[in-house]
């Protein structure tokens, strides 16, 4: 695996204004590195801030504080104009293939748009030819060139979204729940496609998902997020075989296993709901749901520290 760092976030904060003088603490002091050529998965439950973090990392949302460095350049210090050449190197694939494609545009125009915006091809004919090649790369037959999004299935639409995302030959693609809206059999096709494209075009993925099975298949490294903070970062193999953070452990145990012999009526379930990001708990943000919380967890926020070849934010990681 490549060790070169492509993107690095330091002390990244994103807050949104809420009712009154309150703030939604969507991303709170996150440090994260993405290495060239890897798939880093960002996993967590809804509202944990994973999509906001993904969008802040590629400059779609300006951070409240902190820096994002892309190959040594601090993106947060750049003007919108200066940011443009970096933007084309960072693309996004969306969750909902029904909402993310303009229903009034043909497939040709949808995929051609980024090419035209950046003036990649000399003329219209060359652009159309390039669109054909891109569609071929994602498995959409070229006779569908002038069809509209509603004439495609969910899986085909997601392929079109992927063709658009790879059109500018980006370095980094943020995949935000790219298969959550798809049926299982189609889901496998899209995941395989993403892996093939990664190999072919040396892509780096930030793969955002709530689905731990999908993450297991896709990720080289996994970052687990809870309420705006990272709890654990490590290789997929390490994190799944021996999760160190209690939240990671509960997440993995909660997955319904597709084997009736593995039914466990007594298994330990995480109680309660996710606290509000408007008023996050003091200390460790997970302490209100954590059965192992002590007084220290209730007052002192744990930092993300190295342990057993990964990073963990838990005061009690060693003893548990």
């Amino acid at each position: 695996m490549a060790e070169k760092i492509l993107l690095e976030a330091k002390d990244l904060v994103k807050e949104f204004p809420a009712k009154g003088r309150k703030k939604v603490h969507a991303v709170s002091h996150v440090d994260l590195t993405i290495r060239a050529g890897e798939t880093l998965a960002l996993v967590g439950e809804s509202g944990c801030g994973k999509s906001t973090l993904g969008r802040t990392l590629i400059g779609l949302i300006p951070p409240t504080a902190g820096t994002v460095t892309f190959e040594g350049t601090d993106l947060t210090a750049l003007s919108q104009k200066e940011l443009a050449p970096y933007r084309r190197q960072m693309q996004l694939i969306f969750q909902d293939p029904y909402a993310s494609l303009d229903p009034r545009m043909t497939v040709r125009d949808i995929v051609a748009e980024p090419l035209e915006t950046y003036g990649v091809c000399p003329d219209r004919a060359a652009t159309t030819q390039r669109v054909r090649e891109l569609l071929d790369e994602v498995g959409i037959p070229e006779e569908f060139l002038y069809r509209y999004p509603h004439q495609f299935s969910g899986g085909q639409r997601q392929r079109i979204g992927i063709a658009r995302a790879i059109a500018l030959r980006p370095r980094l693609i943020v995949c935000d729940e790219p298969v959550s809206a798809l049926d299982v059999s189609v889901q496998s096709q899209i995941l395989n496609l993403l892996k093939d494209l990664q190999e072919r075009f040396a892509l780096t993925y930030l793969f955002i998902s709530h689905d731990l099975s999908v993450v297991r298949f896709m990720a080289d490294r996994v970052a687990v997020m809870f309420l705006g903070k990272l709890c654990e970062v490590g290789t997929g193999a390490d994190v799944y075989a021996r999760p160190l953070h209690p939240y990671t452990r509960f997440l993995l145990e909660a997955i319904p296993q597709a084997d009736p012999r593995l039914r466990d009526d007594e298994k330990n379930l995480l109680q309660g709901e996710i606290p509000s990001p408007i008023d996050p708990p003091a200390g460790c943000r997970f302490h209100t749901r954590c059965p192992y919380a002590t007084d220290r967890c209730r007052t002192e926020p744990p930092s993300l520290r190295p342990l057993e070849g990964r990073l963990v934010a838990c005061h009690r990681a060693e003893e548990l």
Partner: protein, 323 residues
């Protein structure tokens, strides 16, 4: 008294559209015993939700039941008018949906919505009904039920809303609960809580459950018996252990192979090629034949019947056991 809570025989239902009849459910037979949890698994458009709506009498024009019978606790439901169904719906059978927000009234506090069912079906005063609602809210694990009684749906989280839906469905102690993708919109830790709640309620009260899901994990964890559906037909049925151990139909096997394992990371995932067929233009032979890696000539020309291949194990395939 019938031994089955629900007995569906040769049910067909579909939509009459401008482009022709869409056979969403084609000759489906299914039984659910008392206290049993029975699953229907399949992908979008396979007809699984259409069965649920047929049973509940919730098909809207242009959808219609075109044949067969649905017997709930000994009573035939097909042919009943909406008015005749009303005392049964909500009382003897109830349904919960994937997205509780679409089935809750956004402008009425949840407690009041739940009370309606009791005032309609049970001979209770308003005060008695309110007490019963609060008892039920607490029973499904909602803290501070007196406070939640007056909450509007938008004030609750997704998990809480689904608990409210379950409490609402349970309030008249139905014989049958139909749960259509009840946890698909929920996070995994909340999903586990809701599944356990449904199972515990079924065990406690002897209520039967028809669980509809695309998720084989949910099916494996919950169901006694499972029906696998493809393009409107049942292609395989067995008790859960048999189905997962001795999966016979190529579609069932394709689905199960697509499940990602957590203890390994292969370079590629097995996938079922192609897409679900258009119900308006079903192939002449087996509906799965165009996607099936084992299809022979006969599979493209003739439609296989559902045949028994083991104790309680049925499969609709010419090639089963050979491929």
């Amino acid at each position: 008294m019938d031994e089955y809570t629900l007995k569906i025989e040769h049910l067909s239902s579909g939509f009459f559209t401008e482009r022709g009849y869409v056979p969403a459910v084609d000759d489906v037979s299914l039984t659910i015993g008392k206290g049993q949890v029975v699953g229907i698994v399949g992908e979008s458009g396979c007809g699984k939700s259409m069965i649920a709506r047929s049973v509940m009498g919730l098909l809207k024009y242009p959808g219609r039941i075109t044949g067969g019978s649905i017997i709930l606790a000994g009573q035939e439901l097909t042919g009943l008018t909406d008015r005749q169904l009303q005392p049964i719906r909500g009382k003897d059978m109830a349904m919960i949906f994937q997205e509780p927000m679409t089935s809750l009234n956004p402008v009425v506090p949840v407690g009041k919505q739940m009370r309606e069912a009791l005032l309609l079906h049970e001979n209770m005063s308003k005060a008695e009904a309110k007490a019963e609602v609060i008892r039920m809210l607490s029973h499904v694990g909602i803290s501070e039920p007196e406070k939640r009684y007056n909450a509007y749906p938008h004030e609750l989280s997704g998990g809480l809303r689904q608990r409210v839906m379950i409490a609402m469905a349970m309030i008249c102690r139905p014989k049958l609960l139909i749960a259509d993708e009840p946890t698909t919109a929920l996070d995994v830790t909340i999903e586990a809580q809701i599944l356990r709640l449904i199972r515990d309620l079924s065990r406690e009260t002897g209520m039967s459950v028809l669980l509809i899901s695309h998720n084989l994990g949910v099916i494996a964890q919950m169901c006694d018996k499972v029906y696998v559906m493809y393009a409107g037909k049942i292609v395989e049925q067995a008790d859960a252990l048999t189905l997962f151990d001795k999966r016979a139909h190529p579609y069932t096997r394709g689905l199960m192979d697509s499940v990602i394992r957590l203890d390994a990371s292969p370079q590629r995932l097995p996938a079922i090629g192609g897409v679900v067929p258009n119900l308006l233009r079903l192939p002449a032979g087996c509906a799965f034949a165009p996607r099936c890696p084992h299809a022979r000539e006969i599979c493209h020309t003739e439609r296989p019947e559902l045949e028994q291949i083991g104790p309680g194990h049925w499969c609709r395939c010419f090639e089963r056991g050979r491929s």
